[in-house]
Amino acid sequence: MALSPALRRAMLAAHIVCSVGWLGAAAAYLALAVAAEASTQPQVVRAAWIGMELSGWFVIVPLACLAFLTALVLSLGTPWGLFKHYWVVIALVLTTLSLAVLLLHMPSVSTAAGLAQTADDAAVRRLGGDVLHPAVGLLVLTVITVLNVHKPRGLTPYGQHKQTKEAKDSTNKGAPLQLSNRVNPQPGRRAPA
């Protein structure tokens, strides 16, 4: 299941592109949402909602799905694992929640964008914006990014169990204990090649 170094680097590059792209697209969505919320001009509100729907379905959702998938592949294909380190578990939970909220929320955005195109001016002004979702989303994505860059120490009970087991196995086979450090790549704080 371990990825080759070349494949791992390619997957890491894809994951960074998708994750940072998701963050940037969410920031652009927030700008449109603020414009829709703050503006009293129906044309601005209409344009903002159309932009929010398009960027949501065609940029944010694909990038979020790809970021999630590449994260899964990277976790499972490297010694970091999915449940061995607290920071990976927390990042996984936050990413899954963000993706779920995004997918649940986008149909509502489509509904509002449809209304923005067909409703009269007074109704469009009452439509307002959608500031809360992208604002909280940006905060969560920033936290995930910080966790990924910083990689704080800490093995979960499962990670400790796996590390102990691998250390025992390598000792029984007569291999040097250094092998167990590959399972827990904490000292370098970088994903091992």
């Binding site: 729907e53 649940l104 509904t111 209304l115 067909t118």
Partner: protein, 93 residues
């Protein structure tokens, strides 16, 4: 009493009580994880309170309804999104 002696007399993970195990597990959790979880719970609590104070109109259940937004009245048979706008403007028949 005898059982208790047996429980406390044998050191090691198999004989430790559930509470001891829980305490040992919590003690083993890094401090940054505890701080993170407490902060996240505080943030979620804050969001829930804000939601309730604003009338409780927003929440996960909103996304399961047919129209998520409190939509204004639209005098149109369809409310197409931009994605399906081409279909809406196409001549019928």
């Amino acid at each position: 009493m005898n059982d208790m002696k047996q429980q406390t007399g044998e050191p090691g993970p198999p004989s430790e009580s559930r509470q001891e195990g829980r305490i040992r597990w919590i003690a083993g959790v890094p401090r940054w994880v505890k701080v993170f979880v407490i902060t996240a719970l505080g943030f979620v609590l804050l969001m829930v309170v804000a939601m309730l104070l604003s009338g409780g109109r927003h929440g996960p259940g909103r996304h399961f309804s047919s129209a998520g937004f409190e939509a204004p009245v639209v005098h149109s048979a369809r409310a197409p999104s931009f994605i399906s706008a081409g279909d809406a403007s196409a001549p019928e028949g």
